[in-house]
Symmetry: C2
Subunit: 255 residues, 2 copies
DNA sequence: CTTGCAAAATCTGTCTACAGTTTATTTGAC
DNA sequence: GTCAAATAAACTGTAGACAGATTTTGCAAG
């Protein structure tokens, strides 16, 4: 088989990526980016031929996506890309609001010199990406910054937050269609606004001030939540985030 | 193929369970119960022959368990049951501590008459199970009670908490070897103690008092955490739960 | 007894084949 | 033209086969 796209990989043929890993990554990326829209039908034979692999490894890739809830399907029927709904979006944010403060506090309490530099670099890189209007670069650095702030939670927490982040992006990409080519567009200005919040979070983290950092994060999350809710539907905030917001650490915390 | 164990199923051959679902369930149960110990080697050919299916569906079942982190493996090498470590256990509880209060508050705020009865029945059933020393029954009702208390969080949260619960059980079953045949054993008495906490949680929930219910839950979780830490290793509590406990809602809450 | 190495046995990743099912298309009656 | 049955096409689930990799076994040298 050919493994399209992985030809100019980093390493040599030392440790070959297998077909299922390849199909898994490709499909996952297409689903999260919206290239494969929610509800889209996934024919094994068509996908297998498109990726130039047989159905056996493709099925394994699909099975993994099934476990991640990115695809759904019944016995003997073709699978479909899972649908989006605000209730799920609500829960994603409820979990993030409940969990990220804990993880951030842990990260800040154990910050090392190199990881400080890494965090700082991500924020700087975001500035640059905005200046050049390189939205893909911004997305990558944005993700890395947020996940980097929460690594202190450990591997399992990181895995969960990574999954939630990618799913959040899926909702944002599907519900929000913004124009990032115009430097003066509302979308581009929103990026600049969020950068202010990122700087606040970074500075607080570097100063060892978890309280301020968490407050900035919660503000950040709430704004993202509001934007999607406003754009996707006029319906009021669902109940789980409401509870999460109520329970989230306020301006008063030990240290 | 024969599908051992599913012969006397509930429904007719209306909607046949496929081989991969069967293998998935069987393997998962064996891993979680400890029948397949952490680190155990999983040969595809042996498992396939044991389940009387071909390797094709078995691989799909394994792939799903891989996504759940219950098995690990490298390319071209046999997979193994994933190992346990206290750091992971710590994170599981950190997530539960952060998330279950939010979910419980949501549940209590929307409690219906039938769901009240269901919760009450679970606690009663646990009493009965203890009286008869039916530990399997107790485990099932215990799980159902806790998950029932948190259903208000929604499908995604429920799925996550279910996964965390099952993983918690895996740690408990592996690290704790208790004698439930002796009504006077320490293990059996621990069950009775936890029932007091369950009653507290139930009563608070039925009274619509989320604050008290959550406080009881956190006490419950912390005790379970302490027991495993005491038995598994004398090392001090890891950092993530420490943060989670610090952030957990205290005796003072809006409503 | 160990250690190292080669042969044998076993295993993994992938493909193809095939039975049985679902989906699409055609056909014919109204 | 519309609907329904019937036929055709396409698809799913599973088994089995094969190449290539890994693990185990057997055996000789130290």
């Amino acid at each position: 088989m050919s493994l399209p796209g992985s030809t100019s990989e980093t390493a040599a043929a030392d440790r070959l990526e297998d077909s299922v890993e390849f199909a898994y990554r490709a499909l996952r990326a297409e689903i999260l980016s919206g290239a494969l829209a929610p509800g889209a039908i996934l024919s094994q034979v068509q996908l297998a031929s498109r990726f130039d692999i047989s159905r056996t490894p493709l099925r394994e890739a699909l099975r993994r996506l099934l476990a991640e809830n990115l695809v759904v399907g019944d016995f003997n029927r073709r699978m479909r890309v899972s649908e989006l709904n605000l209730d799920d979006f609500d829960q994603i944010y409820a979990i993030r609001i409940a969990l990220e403060p804990v993880a951030i506090a842990s990260t800040i309490a154990h910050l090392t010199a190199p990881s400080r530099a890494v965090l700082e670099n991500h924020v700087t890189a975001m500035d640059e990406a905005i200046a050049v209007l390189d939205i893909d670069r911004f997305r990558d650095e944005h993700r890395a910054f947020h996940l980097g702030l929460t690594v202190g939670g450990g591997a399992r927490v990181a895995r969960l937050l990574e999954d939630l982040w990618d799913n959040s992006e899926r909702y944002r990409l599907t519900y929000l269609h913004h124009d990032y080519n115009d430097p003066a567009s509302e979308a581009t200005r929103a990026l600049t606004i969020s950068q202010v919040e990122h700087r606040n979070m970074l500075n607080a983290a570097l100063a060892g001030d978890a309280t301020t950092c968490i407050a900035a994060l919660l503000h950040h999350l709430q704004r993202a939540l509001d934007i999607v809710y406003a754009e996707a539907a006029a319906q009021p905030r669902a109940r789980v985030t409401a509870e999460a917001l109520r329970f989230a650490p306020q301006q008063s915390m030990p240290a």
